[in-house]
Symmetry: C2
Subunit: 325 residues, 2 copies
C-alpha cells in the first residue's frame, strides 16, 4: 500500500515520541470490547519489547471473555497511576470523554498520541492518526508494519483479536483487502487462531444461551416477514437468570433469518424505558429510524433509547418503520 | 510463498493442457457445498474469459443458498453432455466415485485434471494438484495467481465464497496466513463481501430457525456440563415443518456454549437408526469416538451412523464418551 506524505510524516513523528519516552500510559475507552483491549495490549507488548515502562489503564471492568489476551492481568485502573507520564497513548477513543477518569492523567502527560479508526474522532491529542479501517487493531498493525517495528507473537495475538472481533470474523463491510493482508501478516507470527476463535466465538454463557432461546422462540414478524422483532423483558431476564450483557447477539440472530430485511430488539431498562437495537441486511437505513428516536448509528446497525413502556414502544416503532419501508 | 519444483512443474503441465483444450467439462461432487460450487464456477469464469467452451456439471441439485454465485445457472447435469471433452477437471473430489454419474464422462475425456485440498485424495487423474489448504477455492487461487492467469470479479466472488464457506468465515484451524493472503488479493477485484455474507451467513430459513430453537431448548448436559447433547427426532422435524438439511448448524450452536468441551447431535434417520455429529473445542478427539461406531472425521468434527433407536444410541454414546474423557 502506498502511503501519502502526511501519513509518513505523522508516523515518523509518532515513532520519534515513542523512542524518546520512558514511562508510557495506554488507555482505551469505557465499556471496553475486543478491539479496545486487543489494541491496548498489542501496543503494550510491542512497547515492552522496546524496553519501555508501560502502564495500560482502563476506567472500567475487563470483561472475562478477554482474560485470555496476553498480559490482560497488567491492566490497571486510572487511580493507580500517581506519576506524570512522558507519553499518553489513547486507542480506539473517538473523544477524550470516552476514556473516563483516565482523562485526568492524559491532561497532565508531557505528550499525547491518539490512534483510532472512528471517522468522528476529533483529533484531541498532540499527534493523531485516525484512519477509517476495520478496527484500531488494523490501524496499529499499519503503523508497526510501515515503521518496521517488530510485532511479537503476543502483540500479534492481540491485534488479530482486535480485528477479528470488530469485523465479526471478517464479515462486516468494513473488512478490506488491507484487513486481510494484516491478518495474513499477523498469522506469520505463529498465533493460535483456534484459541482466539474458542474465546471469541465459542463462549456463549448458559444464561445467554437460555435468554437467546427464550426471546427467539417468541419473535414477532411484521410487513410480510420483512421485519422480525424480539423483546427482552425484565421478567424474561429474571426467569433465565440472565446478566447485563446477555442480550448481546440476539438481534444478529434475528437478522440472520432468511428473507428478513430488518431485525429489531427491544430491551426493557431496569430504570424504565426501552433500549432499541436494529440490524438490517442491505437496503433499509437503521440510522434513519434510530434518529427519529434521538438515537444513531450506521446504515446496517443502529440504536436508540425510547422512554415508553415496552409494548407502547413497539407500537410507535412499527409505525415509524412503516414509513421507511 | 516459494513453491517447490514439483509444484512449478505440475502447474506448467496443467496450464499447458488448459491452453491446448477447447471443450472443457468441470465437475464437483455430489452433495455440493460452497467450496465445490465456488470452485467450479470460479474455474468456469476464468476459462470462459480465456475463450474456452466450458461445461460445469454436477450430478445433484444445486442448494438454493448458492444461486447467488455468478453463472450458477449454467451448471448442467451429466446426462446433458453428449460429446467427448478435450479436458475434464474435477474440483474438491477426493475420489472419483464422489462425482457420481459424471464419472462416465470423466472416463472418456481425452485428458483429466484433479484439483483438491483433501489429503486423502487418491490422485485419480492424469494431472493432480492436491494441496492441504483451507479450501479447493484457495488451491485454485494459488494456481491462477502463480501462473498469472487473470481472476476476474465473477471468479473472485466464487473463490472467496469457496474459502469463506469452507473456513466458517476464517475461523477454522485450516485457515493459514496464505488463506488470508488469498482473500486479500481476491478483494482487490472489487467483490461485494456484504452480498456474500448475507447469502452465506444471514440466510437461516424459518423452519431451520424453529428447529434450532426447539432442539436447543432441550439440550442435555453430561459430565459436569463438559458435554452437551441435542436430539433431532422425526417428531420434532415434523412439528416445526423442517426439511432435510435444516439440522445443519445445530451442533455448532451447542459447541459454542461456554465451558462445553464436546457437542453432540443425534438425528433420527427416516429409515431407522441415528446420525451422530460431534464437535469439540480443543482437547477431545471426536474422530476417536466416531471410529468406535464405524464413523470418522477430524479431531474437532466427526460423525457416524448408529443403528439403534435414538434413546439407546444416546446411552451407548455417553458410555463411550465417558471412556475418552
Amino acid at each position: 500500500m502506498m502511503l501519502n506524505n502526511s501519513v509518513k510524516e505523522i508516523f515518523s513523528a509518532i515513532k520519534e515520541e515513542i523512542l524518546k519516552a520512558n514511562r508510557i500510559v495506554l488507555s482505551s475507552h469505557i465499556n471496553p470490547d475486543g478491539d479496545n483491549l486487543g489494541s491496548v495490549l498489542g501496543m503494550y507488548s510491542v512497547l515492552k519489547q522496546m524496553g519501555k515502562e508501560v502502564y495500560p489503564i482502563i476506567d472500567d471492568e475487563i470483561p472475562k471473555d478477554y482474560k485470555f489476551l496476553p498480559s490482560s492481568e497488567v491492566i490497571k485502573r486510572p487511580e493507580e497511576i500517581n506519576f506524570t507520564p512522558d507519553l499518553f497513548i489513547t486507542l480506539d477513543s473517538a473523544t477524550l470523554d470516552r476514556i473516563g477518569k483516565s482523562k485526568e492523567i492524559f491532561e497532565k502527560a508531557k505528550k499525547t498520541i491518539n490512534f483510532d479508526h472512528h471517522k468522528t474522532n476529533d483529533s484531541y491529542a498532540d499527534l493523531n492518526y485516525v484512519s477509517e479501517k476495520s478496527a484500531t487493531g488494523e490501524v496499529l498493525f499499519e503503523f508497526f508494519h510501515t515503521e518496521k517495528i517488530d510485532i511479537n507473537k503476543a502483540a500479534a495475538t492481540c491485534l488479530y483479536t482486535a480485528i477479528s472481533s470488530d469485523t465479526g470474523s471478517f464479515k462486516y463491510d468494513s473488512t478490506s483487502s488491507y484487513t486481510f493482508y494484516a491478518a495474513s501478516e499477523l498469522m506469520k507470527k505463529g498465533i493460535d487462531i483456534n484459541e482466539i476463535a474458542v474465546n471469541l466465538y465459542q463462549n456463549r454463557s448458559k444464561s445467554k444461551t437460555k435468554l437467546l432461546i427464550e426471546v427467539a422462540s417468541k419473535i414477532k414478524y411484521y410487513f410480510d416477514d420483512k421485519v422480525g422483532l424480539g423483546k427482552v423483558t425484565n421478567d424474561i431476564m429474571e426467569s433465565v437468570g440472565a446478566e447485563k450483557h446477555d442480550s448481546e447477539g440476539i438481534v444478529e440472530f434475528i437478522r440472520d433469518i432468511e428473507g428478513l430485511e430488518l431485525a429489531v430488539l427491544l430491551k426493557e431498562k431496569k430504570d424504565g424505558g426501552v433500549r432499541l437495537s436494529m440490524r438490517s441486511k442491505s437496503q433499509l437505513d437503521c440510522a434513519k429510524i434510530a434518529s427519529f428516536f434521538g438515537g444513531g448509528g450506521h446504515t446496517r446497525a443502529a440504536g436508540a433509547t425510547i422512554d415508553l413502556p415496552i409494548d407502547k414502544a413497539e407500537e410507535v416503532l412499527i409505525e415509524e418503520i412503516k414509513k421507511q419501508l
